[in-house]
């Protein structure tokens, strides 16, 4: 059985410009201990899917579908039961870690709080656990750093704090939403290395959202590619990256390889004014008449009329 099984997840926002369909019939699974990466250009709905799993969407969001976690549908859980799962079973870290820490509470205090929420232990024990966690994620002099405030931490150190907080209760799933996007390149590598080690040490499943296809290839077992709110290709990492089926995945990989222009030609459509048929057709070199009229179905992990996997 899968740890996480998302079935036909729809998330939309009612805005003045019309309905934004940020997640359109999204389905994928993550097994226990598996690392899956979610890739795609900015604005295609990756963060919204992640927040949907946590049930931490903005107030104007409408969500439907099923999100099974260990067989239980998270979307039908009572508010209180869902709250108990956050942090304990599913934890999340974000981009721009500095803004994710409360500026008026000490860093150690915030980690100890994460320990305490789910373990109901004494202040002394949670404090000790927090110091241990800080050491685990490689923060030097954890005893001294415990009582410091977020402004005294660099971006990389703040992300380590976030990781310590996220792993406080050994969750079975960690969602990392572009954890290194705002960091320096050298720091990025360190954070990725740390995540990789901790995830395998605790046998935590990972949902990694990233722009960095190199990191994705290095860390993940499987991959899901999103375009304009929907999944257009998914499969095993080794298979998809070596032999991409969908023209969009091919373009993404080409752009990342450095030989071609650094990004995919054209731009992502507005989610309020999606093209008919295949959403990628205005940018696709292979598009034909059928592409403009009929939305392709997902077959063998590829959602395309023309390019098919054998």
């Amino acid at each position: 059985m899968s740890l996480l099984d998302i079935v036909n997840l729809n998330i939309s926002f009612a805005t003045r410009a019309g309905v934004v369909q940020a997640s359109d019939e999204v389905s994928f699974k993550i097994r226990k201990g598996e690392a899956l990466c979610l890739i795609g250009e900015s604005g295609c709905g990756k963060s919204i899917v992640a927040l949907g799993i946590m049930r931490l969407l903005p107030g104007n969001a409408r969500i439907s579908g099923k999100i099974f976690f260990n067989g239980r549908d998270l979307l039908s859980l009572h508010k209180k039961a869902m709250r108990k799962m956050r942090g304990r079973d599913i934890a999340m870290i974000f981009e721009q870690p500095a803004g994710c820490l409360n500026p008026v509470l000490s860093v150690g205090n915030q980690i100890a709080e994460a320990v305490k929420i789910h373990e109901n232990c004494s202040g002394k024990i949670s404090r000790q656990r927090a110091v241990d966690l800080m050491a685990l994620v490689g923060i030097p002099c954890p005893c001294k750093r415990y009582s410091q405030y977020p402004y005294e931490f660099s971006g990389g150190m703040a992300q380590r704090v976030m990781i310590a907080m996220a792993l406080a209760s050994h969750p079975s799933l960690l969602i990392a939403d572009e954890p290194t996007t705002s960091l320096d390149v050298t720091i990025q590598a360190q954070i990725i290395e740390l995540l990789k080690n901790l995830v395998s040490q605790f046998n935590t499943s990972l949902l990694l959202i990233t722009h960095d296809l190199g990191v994705a290839a290095q860390m993940c077992d499987s991959v899901v590619v999103m375009y304009a709110g929907g999944i257009i290709e998914k499969g095993r990492m080794s298979d998809v990256f070596k032999n991409p089926g969908h023209p969009y995945t091919q373009a993404l990989l080409k752009a990342a390889s450095g030989k071609e222009p650094a990004s995919v030609k054209g731009s992502v459509p507005e989610l309020t004014r999606l093209p008919d048929g295949c959403r990628f057709h205005p940018r696709c070199e292979l598009s034909q008449d059928i592409c403009r009229k009929i939305m392709p179905q997902m077959k063998k992990g590829v959602k395309c009329h023309i390019q098919k996997k054998t």
Binding site: M54, L56, R83, K84, M85, R86, G87, R88, A91, M92, F94, Q96, G99, C100, L101, N102, P103, V104, L105, S106, E113, A114, I117, H118, Y149, Y151, E152, M162, M165
Partner: protein, 313 residues
């Protein structure tokens, strides 16, 4: 931290000097003659020219402005605010006798404002756009637009004259305090409530609030611990600034309720052109402005670790 406070103190001294010079200059430029005003207040008919001259001579009012200013500053530097032309008592003494009544009124108004505004501001933000939020916002709008004297008269009419629940003037007991407190505290409550709401709405959008929720923290703690402490930084600033405003806003309310505080005395002194009292009182009120701002700065440092540990950019 010590450097931070020392800097603020030095600035405070400069501001006080500026206020002293300003309060002196504005008054000496204002029309009206102190000697005439005071002498005619003491008797029924207009004073003789000779009496006026001798009064001015006695109180040094004939000297040039510059000499009077330097004399006054010299006196101030020794902690002497001069003698009231009207009562013949030292200005500092007159102030000390009346200040407790005014402070009592200002403090109770402030307490009323804080007790009501902070919780309702928070509720209003958390339940944004609900019926409750709209009611709170309407009441707050009404509170800021209601002039003090009008509200005071309305309360007197309603609860004093018609219902007879509270005395309409005077001081000395809790029941005397209630109507003036509501009068003085209403606009403060409304201002604070709106500010607390706006501040909370802003903080609730911050990423660290999302982190607190992602940890599985109970919503009560997300609001009460993580968000509330951050909203206090702007709120405390306004509380401090408004407290000094209360001390000056008290002038009208004391007049309406015949409350025996500094505001009441100040109005009488202005009518009598009692320069030493006006100058002294204005200066002392300025002092409270500066003092409350200083306290705000220090509180600020306790609320915001970035300031507390000396990183001031």
């Amino acid at each position: 931290m010590v450097k931070f406070i020392a800097g603020r103190l030095a600035l405070a001294v400069l501001i006080m000097l500026g206020s002293a010079i300003l309060s002196f200059s504005i008054l000496t430029l204002a029309p009206g003659n102190a000697a005439e005003a005071i002498l005619s207040a003491e008797r029924a008919d207009d004073p003789q020219l000779a009496e006026v001259e001798s009064f001015m001579e006695r109180h040094g009012l004939n000297n040039s402005r510059l000499i009077r200013l330097s004399q006054w500053l010299h006196m101030l530097s020794k902690g002497n605010f001069g003698i009231s032309l009207r009562t013949g008592e030292p200005v500092a003494e007159e102030f000390r006798a009346r200040f407790p009544a005014t402070f009592e009124l200002a403090a109770s108004s402030m307490a009323l404002a804080i007790i009501i505004a902070l919780p309702f501001g928070v509720i209003s933000a958390v339940k944004q756009n609900s019926i409750l939020d709209n009611v709170i916002r309407f009441v707050a709008l009404w509170g800021v637009s209601m002039p003090n004297f009008w509200l005071g008269l309305l309360l007197i009419l309603c609860f004093g004259v018609i219902l007879g629940w509270f005395p309409t003037y005077g001081s000395g007991s809790i029941v005397h305090l209630i109507l003036p407190t509501i009068t003085l505290g209403t606009s403060m409550t409304a201002i604070l409530m709106r500010l607390q709401r706006a501040s909370m709405l802003e903080v609730l959008n911050e990423n660290y609030i999302r982190t607190a929720r992602a940890k599985g923290l109970h919503e009560v703690l997300v609001i009460g611990k993580h968000a509330f402490k951050n909203t206090l930084i702007p709120v405390v600033t306004i509380i401090g600034m408004q407290f000094a405003h209360l001390l000056s806003g008290v002038v009208i309310v004391e007049q309406v309720f015949a409350w025996p505080g500094i505001g009441h005395f100040l109005v009488d002194s202005i009518n009598a052109r009692d320069y030493p009292v006006i100058q002294g009182f204005v200066l002392i009120i300025a002092f409270f402005f500066v003092l409350s701002n200083l306290i705000v700065d220090i509180l600020y440092a306790f609320l915001d670790p970035r300031i507390r540990y000396g990183r001031t950019q």
